[in-house]
């Protein structure tokens, strides 16, 4: 266990030292490649503020999208006509790149929070929808026969069989969409925003403040990682019976 965390940490530290040395010995100008120490110096209070903005947008989008996708998936499984009619349309929307839609969102919703939250929703919704539909149908046909012999209602079948059976599938999707949510929020900020990490990336790159740019990139990565690990933690606590990856 110790070596599993210590070994990558040691290698990471070694890379950082090499990076610092390269910049110092090679006299590389900061606008091209800032040294790790310069990046660290750029991580200040204002970065934390921008991080918080993006994180909240991503989190809100993620939560709304997941709840919405779960409800729609339940309706799809309950009413097949709905699934047959809407699933192809959902796939069509899913394949449209979020970058192409983001400007439209800014026109409709303005440069405030909502255009970013909706961008995050759009990017998170489909993985959760697809996997939840799959998970809700994943129980073996004989399980349904068992519930039939016990005289279970449709609601009981959902609550006691389909939904718990779906959880491993749901969580695999949540792990994917949690990091996608950050992408959605930042893309929204690229197009039109006055705050957030995406805004900071655009502004600092325009001014060649590369150390700030690096700090923003790092913060964006941290936002994704934080969400991913929070979901993984919840998954391990909740789903003790399934060791394999579902979906």
């Amino acid at each position: 266990m110790i070596s599993r965390t210590a070994t990558p940490l040691a290698f990471g530290l070694l890379l950082l030292i090499a990076w610092q040395a390269l910049v110092m010995i090679g006299h590389i100008p900061e606008y091209l490649l800032p040294a790790p120490i310069a990046i660290l110096a750029a991580m200040d209070r204002s970065l934390l503020l921008q991080f918080t903005v993006t994180f909240i947008e991503a989190l809100a989008g993620f939560l709304i999208a997941s709840a919405l996708a779960f409800v729609v998936a339940t309706l799809f499984v309950r009413f097949h006509t709905l699934e047959d009619g809407l699933f192809p349309i959902a796939i069509a929307i899913k394949t449209t790149p979020i970058v192409a839609i983001a400007p439209l969102l800014v026109i409709w919703l303005g440069t405030g929070w909502w255009s970013k939250i909706v961008a995050a929703i759009l990017i998170c919704f489909f993985p959760v929808l697809v996997n939840t539909v799959k998970g809700l149908k994943a129980a073996d046909g004989e399980y349904h026969e068992l519930f039939d012999t016990l005289g279970a209602s449709r609601a009981q079948e959902f609550g006691k069989l389909r939904i718990p059976y779906c959880l491993p599938y749901l969580f695999s999707a949540l792990k994917i969409s949690s990091s996608l949510a950050v992408v959605g929020a930042i893309v929204g900020e690229f197009v039109g925003a006055t705050q957030g990490l995406g805004y900071l990336i655009i502004v600092s790159s325009a001014h060649l403040e590369t150390a700030t740019l690096f700090s923003a990139i790092l913060a964006a990565a941290l936002a994704g990682i934080a969400m991913f690990y929070a979901i993984s933690f919840a998954e391990r606590r909740l789903i003790f019976w399934s060791s394999g990856e579902a979906g």
């Binding site: 004989e142 026969e145 068992l146 012999t149 016990l150 006691k160 718990p164 003790f240 019976w241 399934s242």
Partner: protein, 264 residues
């Protein structure tokens, strides 16, 4: 039919034998254009252990599922002289819910029947008694993935018994297990059927093993290849416990084997 009352069942038979508890009358089942069961007739009496024997894919599982009302017949009917006959069903796979402990899996039928809030300490006591009956009381708090295949199937048996059925429908209940485990569980099944701890009086079991059918049952209903028709209804008068090596039991096994070979 069922003229022979087995001596070892006299003291344990809860209801007088020869009283029909389930009748299959002119039953026909179709899946699309495929005829799975073709005008089948037989009667199961209270207190009997009856096997439905036939080759794989002959429609015997379909027959059991039709009796359990999982499949709708195309013709004929299944009558139950008493309308409120409680039946339990056991599948070839344990079909336990992996997120529930053994005890909570056994309680599932009660929760479904009456709602979760009504399940109380009395029911828990009953569920523990069922687990005790299948010799798994120490594993009440274990999860299915912590149990072996045989133990999982014992939990499934306890779950089938929790609603206090009079008739148990078994669909190759131990067919997926290794032979040693299967033999042990078959003996347990007979013990539970004979015990007075439950109201269980009658067992209808699907199997494709001739020795299993003959060593366990009072009667063996031999079915043809699909569509399933009745080849013969064989009464097994031998004393229990039986093993396939007994002269009398062995003779019946050989007779049925010859019949299955020639009778299709």
């Amino acid at each position: 039919m069922n003229a022979i009352v087995l001596p070892d069942r006299l003291d344990v038979a809860p209801v007088a034998p020869s009283k029909p508890i389930l009748s299959v009358e002119d039953l026909t089942v179709r899946f699309g254009s495929v005829v799975a069961i073709d005008s089948l007739n037989f009667t199961v009496c209270s207190g009997e252990f009856v096997s439905l024997l036939g080759p794989s894919g002959c429609g015997k599982s379909t027959l059991l599922k039709t009796i359990a009302r999982l499949v709708k017949p195309a013709g004929g009917r299944i009558t139950r002289p008493r309308a409120e006959l409680r039946t339990g069903f056991m599948f070839q796979k344990p079909l336990l819910l992996p997120w529930r402990t053994a005890l909570d899996n056994v309680l599932l039928p009660l929760e479904i029947e009456r709602g979760r809030s009504t399940v109380g300490s009395v029911d828990r006591g009953n569920a523990l008694r069922m687990l005790d009956l299948v010799q798994l009381s120490e594993f009440a708090q274990s999860y299915p993935h912590q149990l072996s295949g045989g133990m999982q199937q014992r939990v499934a048996l306890a779950r089938a018994l929790i609603c206090d059925p009079e008739v148990l429908l078994l669909d190759e209940p131990f067919g997926a297990l290794d032979e040693l485990t299967r033999d042990v569980l078959n003996e347990e099944m007979i013990r539970i059927w004979q015990s007075k701890e439950t109201r269980l009086s009658t067992v209808l079991m699907v199997t494709h093993s001739i020795p299993e059918a003959v060593t366990m049952s009072d009667r063996v209903i031999v079915l043809s290849t699909r569509p399933a028709r009745l080849l013969e209804d064989v009464t097994v008068p031998c004393r229990r416990p039986r093993v396939p090596e007994d002269a009398e039991t062995g003779a019946i096994i050989r007779r049925i084997r010859a019949m299955v070979r020639s009778g299709r």
